[in-house]
Amino acid sequence: MNAPVNPKKLIKGGLHDWEVVIGMEIHAQITSRSKLFSGASTAFGAEPNAHVSLVDAAMPGMLPVINEECVAQAVRTGLGLKARINLRSVFDRKNYFYPDLPQGYQISQYKDPIVGEGEVLVDLPEGESITVGIERLHLEQDAGKSLHDQAPNLSFVDLNRSGVALMEIVSRPDLRSSEEAKAYVTKLRTILRYLGTCDGDMEKGNLRADVNVSVRRPGEPLGTRCEIKNVNSIRFIGQAIETEARRQIAILEDGGAIVQETRLFDPGRGETRSMRSKEEAHDYRYFPDPDLLPLEFSQDFVDGLAAGLPELPDAKKARFVADFGLSPYDAGVLVAERASADFYEAVAKGRDGKAAANWVINELFGRLNKEGLGIDQSPVSADQLGSIIDLIGEGTISGKIAKDLFEIVWTDGGDPRAVVEARGMKQVTDTGAIEAAVDQIIAQNPDKVAQAREKPTLLGWFVGQTMKATGGKANPAAVNALLKAKLGIA
């Protein structure tokens, strides 16, 4: 049951080493036009209560009708998580009172979710990888939003989000560090984005994590856990886990006991605190929603969706390693976003895969990151980058010139080949021209020539001078060979 404990992942307390055990419930907003049970729009950022139907506002006599696309999206996600798809599932009501919950209950799935057990393969730095078990995925409604800062004694309730479809993806407590937890969420997000079932936009709240954290001495049974609600960035997930684990360790090492409770992470203060409002013993009185029949579909329906799934990151990564000879690390970087992987494939097509990976990862991603741009906003297209790589391969330009060329294409655009032509950036391979330059430098610097015979490292200075004299266009190999011969360096 207990996987071997990796000592590197333990947290040092004052007295002992502690193992942190983490499980996650991710709420992922389904990508759909309309809500789970009503025809109101899911678009973000509307006027208050604009994207609200009478169903979402729980007017008397209103009834839910399920959105078939949301069902398909949940099944696609289940397939992407290699999970069991339940051909029959049931919607239950989770009853509680809250101003942003108009019906007085959330329609969710309790005993019979649409998706059962699955798994996610998570790559960690240094080549390690873990498999995180998925316990279930169920469909449910999102709640509305309360604004608390509009008036001193009032909260303002907006139901635009009320009824938007969510997938709650529950992991097993298989994570053992904040790094693992962050990597898991990152990977899950990647899968969802590949599938097109959730845009993963954490800033808009479209992906939120409830993080269950407990600590134990290695080898001991699971400790009491606390649930940190609604953490909305991957960085905060890491911080919340670290903070909460240390809080629990301090209590336990002090001889105290952990109280199972719901907590909130306050990134400003770097602490988690008890959510008193949620502390009241909840009794959700789940029961099957009598307004809805059981959700049933055929294996054919599932097979049809499976046939339409895109290649997922794990498969793509394996293919990149096999077909393009990439390192698993580079392949992993490229497949982290479907758009990046597609870009890379377009660049690598018919070219050297490793060279393409170097250019995409080091030059392009580096530059995009610096500018805060996404791959889909790249000023350099896959075709343009491919041409640059071709020009290097042909020997038309040197690697160094290629970087200048990349800069020019980034800023001014244009066909790289034409740019090279127009700006005279072609590499000089004509040894005659290079030799003339070399001879001139040797003639002008007799002292250095003498020194170079004693100190061969001075060769670099001569190379630099020659490159300068040729405007950087001289073929570096040719320059080297000529200088060595003329200076008599072996």
């Binding site: 009503s38 139907s53 009478l54 696309e69 309360s146 009185r285 029949l293």
Partner: protein
């Protein structure tokens, strides 16, 4: 099974219905009368019986994913006791 006064108060709170001290005893009596009445169900052999989830056997109708509703904030808040700028207002909720 029967309920005591404390359970009556707990249930009332769960149902968000204020009950005065005087109401507790009569409610307790009425609830216990009903619970006594339903007690006889305990004698039925229900082993192997599926609980009913839908009284009419049919497939659940589904909607296409099309925006067909909303954009009627004025209707949504028309009956609300307290609103501002089409928001519903409630006493401040502390999280």
């Amino acid at each position: 099974m029967s309920v005591d006064a404390q359970t009556v108060r707990r249930i009332a709170h769960l149902a968000r219905i204020a009950v005065s001290d005087e109401e507790v005893a009569p409610l307790q009596g009425e609830l216990n009368a009903i619970l006594a009445f339903v007690e006889q169900l305990g004698t039925v052999d229900v082993s192997g019986v599926e609980p009913m989830t839908s009284v009419t056997p049919m497939a659940m109708k589904k909607r296409a994913d099309v925006v067909t509703d909303g954009e009627r904030a004025a209707d949504v808040v028309a009956n609300a006791p307290e609103t501002e700028d089409n928001y519903f207002l409630v006493p401040k909720v502390v999280e």
